[in-house]
Amino acid sequence: MSGVVLNTGTALQADAPAVAAQPSRLQRFLRALWRSRSGRFGAILLLLILLATLGADLLPLADPVKRHLSLRYLPPVWLDKGQWAYPLGTDGQGRDMLARIIYGARSSVMVGLAAVALSGAIGVAIGVLAGLRGGWLDQVLMRVVDAILAIPAMLFMLVVALVAGAGLAPLIVVIALTNWVIYTRIARAEVLRVKELEFVAAARVSRVRSSRLLLRHILPNILPALVVVATLNIGTVILTESSLSFLGFGIQPPDISWGQMLADGRQQLATSWWISTFPGVALTATVFSIILLGDWLRDYLDPRLP
């Protein structure tokens, strides 16, 4: 043959040092997070919220459910008649707002995390199944998804609350019951995309078992998109809890949640604004930080961006 010069030498050696200096994945992740201004802000904010939530018992806080009928509607400390013992004031039952907000974070954050984890697991499993199998199974599952989307969440709520009673766990179940369809849709779309990618075809040619195809090739490649959706979804779910509280279906006393405080205090927004505003700020800050993190994650996981 002619015209083709054998040249099997490669440039690998040249850039070998770069490999040695490669930081670990976690390090790279954290470094990238620190470099992004909004990502850093969101991470710190969320960390503070989580710390306060987990360490609430260690903090010198008042009892969040203890009523002081003589100290009702106490304004925050920087206003007239505010007291240092109740830095953020008290509500209509004379309970310490600061303690309630910090303890309330538990249910709100818990609902967000647990409902998203649960619905994510269900939704992804079904979506992957529909996307991989295709055919009639896909059609049936997708029609069910369409139907679920049209059925108001309230109806599920009512049934679950009747069967299981009100409370944190039923609430999580209900949100998961209506929320999984989001993940199903995204997982299915992603599977349909990924399964057409050439590396999947390559794996097929290599006669890779379907379980391996799923675990090694498909799942890892649909996960980034799902992780991003999930982070953003946590914020939405926390807001859903507050809407449900507004309708009387949220977390019920004696459990405390921001949504409940917000919904209860809305009547007093004009007279004792702090009762509804502080939980609102806490909730907004949490959702804000999660969205910021989610946005950052989206950029981080996008291979096209440096």
């Binding site: 609350a161 009747l162 009100a166 009387g248 019920q252 009547q267 004009a270």
Partner: protein, 481 residues
């Protein structure tokens, strides 16, 4: 809103234009402007009396027979005259249709209706009915036009554009938004006061208060005590607060196996509650502390059941100690937002119970679930109930209703009284039975009265309205200031 329009904000939507097919006070409070009763109930000086309305007068020919003389100058909104046939039609319509919600309470004792003349009608009951006149007031009591039903062809068609005899004509009903009524110039009581009456449904309290403040409505019901200051401070608005036919009470389980089976525990619960503090602080003074189950305006209400000296936490602690129930878990069910301050009251009571050594736990439920639990007997040891719209304290002896609310409570004397009452006709004797029944049930603490709440309305300064014990809002009684 022009000065000839009256706008009323209610806290829920009108359910139906059929006065016999809803169980909702605010619906009826709107419909009284459209339809009328044979007689009215008034509460001068805190006592109930019947006054003439479409019936000029009535008399009892024997314990089972009543004759009404009807007004002859009454016309339906379509101009046709009102006659005894309409009364017969109204009564018989109810008896023929079990789906009508008012059928469970209205005209049950009526055996037959005889039209004696165009404006005279006789009703015969199957047995003596001391509460007979109550049939002609309240939900289901509104008289409907026979001719218009026939002309419309179907009930649905009639209620699409209903007519009555009342001071205001139907104009438009936009569900979940507003009912619009207009002046009836031919009303028998003289031309009505307002050109237009608009009754709006504003479920969100904060919005209702905002509408009142901004002058969007003249009258707004269900104002929370916290907003009173704002409404008073506002130049155009003031408030009225008045007694109403409601009570807040607790229902306790009595069957064996639950901790409240022990009478001592039930008594301790009763003693632990500081009703005065609830009334003064939690309800901001807009409620009356009482152990009774009916406010005093209700006929035969036992006025001896007051809250005086009922609060005794020390004794309660002793009783609990004695019963060995210290730290016992008590589940306390409460609705939230159904009645004014319902949850706050419940939260406070749970606090009192904890103070005397019970491990009380609040279980707040959304209303429809809560209500279903009452029906299926699945609440915990205690649940909160706001009863209302009763006509007479003899209601306590309604065994059907008792079964629903206290399915496990048994008391031989009470049951004997319940069988004796229908046979008893004398005013005095009846009162003795009914008072005793109230005593038994509160002493046994199957039900414990807590408060008689008041209604609070916001009233724009351009109108005057004092509020009614039965919570009706007849536009004719709202006057330009």
């Amino acid at each position: 809103a022009g000065s000839t329009t009256l706008t009323i904000a209610q806290s829920n939507d009108i359910l139906s234009l059929d006065p016999a097919n809803h169980e909702n006070n605010s619906t009826q409070s709107a419909l009284v402007n459209l339809y009328e009763y044979l007689v009215n109930k008034e509460f001068p000086n805190g006592k109930m009396v019947f006054t003439p309305a479409l019936a000029q007068s009535w008399k009892q020919e024997d314990p089972r027979t009543w004759v009404f003389e009807l007004r002859s100058d009454v016309r339906w909104h379509d101009g046709k005259p009102f006659t005894a046939d309409d009364v017969k039609f109204t009564v018989e319509r109810m008896k023929g249709n079990p789906k009508l919600l008012s059928a469970v309470e209205k005209f049950r004792s009526v055996e037959k209706v005889e039209v004696l003349g165009p404006h005279r009608v006789r009703l015969v009951t199957s047995k003596p009915d001391p509460l007979f006149l109550h049939n002609f007031v309240g939900n289901g009591g509104s008289i409907l036009p026979q001719h218009a039903f026939q002309a419309a062809g179907s009930e649905e068609a009639f209620f699409a554009k209903p007519i009555g005899t009342g001071p205001y004509r139907f104009v438009e009903w936009k569900k979940a938004d507003r009912l619009v009524l207009a002046r009836n110039p031919q009303w028998w009581g003289g031309a009505s006061h307002w050109e237009r009456v608009v009754i709006r449904a504003i479920p969100e309290t904060a919005t209702r208060v905002a509408e009142a403040l901004s002058g969007g409505v003249d009258l707004a019901v269900n104002i929370p005590p916290e907003d009173i200051g704002r409404l008073k401070a506002n130049a155009d608005t003031g408030i009225v607060a008045f007694n109403i036919a409601r009570n807040f009470g607790l229902h306790l389980r009595t069957e064996p196996g639950v901790v409240t089976h022990d009478a001592r525990v039930r008594e301790a619960i009763d003693l632990a509650i500081n009703r005065q503090e609830l009334a003064d602080v939690v309800a901001d003074g807009y409620a009356t502390a009482a152990r009774g189950l009916f406010p005093p305006e209700i006929p035969n209400a036992n006025t001896r059941l007051t809250a005086t000296n009922s609060f005794n936490p020390d004794k309660a602690r002793q009783l609990i100690q004695a019963a060995g129930a210290k730290g016992a878990k008590i589940r306390f069910g409460s609705p939230s937002g159904r009645y004014i301050k319902d949850r706050e009251v419940s939260e406070a009571i749970v606090g009192y119970l904890q103070d005397v050594g019970l491990n009380a736990q609040l279980e707040v439920q959304e209303w429809s679930i809560y209500n279903a639990r009452v029906g299926s007997d699945s609440h915990g040891e205690i649940y909160f109930w706001g009863m209302g719209s009763y006509t007479d304290a003899s209601f306590i002896l309604n065994m059907g209703s008792l079964k629903r609310f206290n399915p496990h409570w048994r008391n031989a004397e009470f049951e004997r009284l319940a069988t004796e009452l229908p046979a008893t006709t004398g005013e005095k004797e009846r009162q003795a039975i009914i008072w005793r029944a109230q005593e038994i049930i509160t002493q046994d603490r199957a039900r414990i009265g807590v408060l008689y709440p008041k209604a609070i309305y916001s009233v724009n300064k351009r109108v005057q309205f004092a509020g009614r014990f039965d919570e009706m809002i007849p536009a004719e009684q709202v006057r330009r200031a």
